[in-house]
């Protein structure tokens, strides 16, 4: 992997001065599989500024999750360069620059909700008192105040996912990476959580990378929508949203919203034209 190593070194020197929290340039990633190489990312270039809410949307296999995993240092690119907070993704991970929310809540059944939220704090060596106060703070942020001593199986799926978001927020990283966090939830719960996430983002000012399948979800949440297409995974369109910062749920019926959703759909359809 000398090529990848060189790319990462280059990545470390990527523009820190532009103010971009995440900057990718010409990113390539090829998985070696038993059926031959699979190109998951092809020439992906993107900049995400501080405090932006960026959604990645596209069909399965378009590389949206892979891109998020590259940002998190969970996968390593085979070409191109990427910088997170002006560092390599691995350095950023070691500096605990981001919290990651997976599709499955993945709470430990043997820990209470408070215990689960405390997990990263224990690993990162926060003091006991600090752990307690942070747990209380983030649990109230996701409106799970009364559930600290409950076990995961006593909570609904939506509440479990909120607890997992609280866990990602507990150590107060500047970046929140979310990989289809609401993908397994029903429409009504999803709407509520979207509204709540909106409020949370406004309250914390985090930079969010959000992977989704849902066009309304992407348009409702984002300041920037990245439309991707599969085989090989690449960016088709980057849409800057002109919706106001204040977004009640019924904004989804306005012409501005529908116009944005239409543009996303057109992009997705263009991506599929190759199939």
């Amino acid at each position: 992997m000398p090529q990848a190593a060189a790319a990462l070194t280059e990545g470390a020197a990527l523009p820190a001065g532009t103010g971009a929290v995440i900057a990718a340039r010409g990113l390539d990633l090829t998985f070696r599989t038993a059926d031959g190489p699979v190109q998951a990312l092809s020439d992906v270039s993107l900049e995400i500024g501080r405090g932006e809410f960026v959604s990645f949307i596209g069909p399965s296999g378009c590389g949206k999750t892979t891109f998020l995993r590259v940002v998190a240092g969970l996968e390593h690119p085979t070409g191109g360069a990427i910088a997170v907070n002006g560092m390599t993704p691995d350095a950023a991970r070691q500096a605990r620059a981001y919290g990651y929310v997976f599709q499955a809540a993945g709470l430990y059944p043997w820990r209470t909700i408070a215990g689960n939220v405390k997990l990263p704090l224990e690993i990162m060596g926060f003091s006991k008192a600090e752990q307690e106060s942070r747990v209380r703070k983030v649990l109230s942020l996701v409106e799970l105040d009364g559930f600290a001593n409950k076990y995961p199986w006593q909570l609904s799926g939506g509440m479990q996912q909120r607890a997992s978001i609280a866990r990602a927020l507990s150590f107060d990283a500047g970046i929140l990476l979310m990989d289809e966090p609401f993908g397994a939830l029903d429409e009504i719960v999803r709407d509520r959580l979207n509204e709540e996430l909106m409020r949370l983002w406004a309250a914390t000012g985090k930079t969010v990378g959000f992977v989704t399948h849902s066009i309304p979800e992407a348009v409702y949440l984002s300041t920037k929508i990245v439309v991707m297409s599969p085989r090989p995974g690449r960016i088709i369109d980057v849409i800057e949203s002109d919706l106001p910062a204040e977004r009640p749920l019924d904004i989804r019926d306005t012409p501005e919203f529908l116009a944005l959703a239409h543009r996303v759909r057109v992009g997705l359809r263009a991506g599929h034209a190759y199939d």
Partner: protein, 333 residues
Amino acid sequence: MADAAVTASPGAGVAGRGRFAARAARAVWPVLMVVGVTVGLWYAACLPMNVKESLNQAERAGAVIVPEGGQARRDASPWGLMAQNPAHLGGVWSQDRPRLPAPHQVAVELYETTVGMALAGRAFSNRSLFTHAWVTLSATLLGFGIGTALGILLAVGIVHNRAMDMSVMPWAIASQTIPILALAPMIVVVLNSVGISGLLPKALISAYLSFFPVVVGMVKGLRSPEAAQLDLLWTYNATPAQTLWKLRLPASMPYLFASLKVGVAASLVGAIVGELPTGAVAGLGARLLAGSYYGQTVQIWSALFAAAILAALLVGLIGLLQRVVLGRMGMGR
């Protein structure tokens, strides 16, 4: 009944307890049924097994047996003898040294060498099964402890070290293919020559058998967390030690208990086998060996049952521990 105990979820409350009792009651009948059929077959099997000796005794006591004379009956079919002498079969269930003792003979022997002796104030005399069971149990528990600790350590090594992953498991499997009966005397002799005798050699043989299921189960258990769980800890930049303590070990508990149940039974077998080459001084293994030396079949069978009861108690104890621990960890369902 064990099934009912496992499927009943802990913390289900009063309603759950009522359902548990009902389920247990329903489970009792099949169990009694099986026990009844087994005991019936056992009594029936005593007939062909013991018929010749029984007819010899009847003949000596003056009865007329067809055909006449033990010599003539030696090679005859037991079924034929039973058909020809239906009136003289009562003795098959009450001989001193039967080929196959009847259930009640074993039960009486078990009672007399345990509760009977305890009531007589000699609970720990040399003839008491309590004494022998304790000798075997102490070696079993020590060996089980050593084997479990060794098994967990090896599994942790295998999961964390590629060289160990590639090299340890084939040796562990090879170790279990050697008949323990062949190995046990060598372990005893070798340890004895360096001045170690008594409890420890037996415990080591017992550990030799019990570490294996623990290694196999714990390797699987320590690897049971999903990729996403490990990824999550990776994003926290957790050390391998933190991953082990906070994720891998707790996640492996269901596998550990399953292994422990197999391991404790293997431990008991190891301790009994370990007693055979030591000159049969004390322990359930010694009772088995002494019984077979002197043709004391009732003694052999009662020692066998004592071992089986001991094993059932140990496995039951671990099952209980499993329910409590996994219930508390929220993994009991």
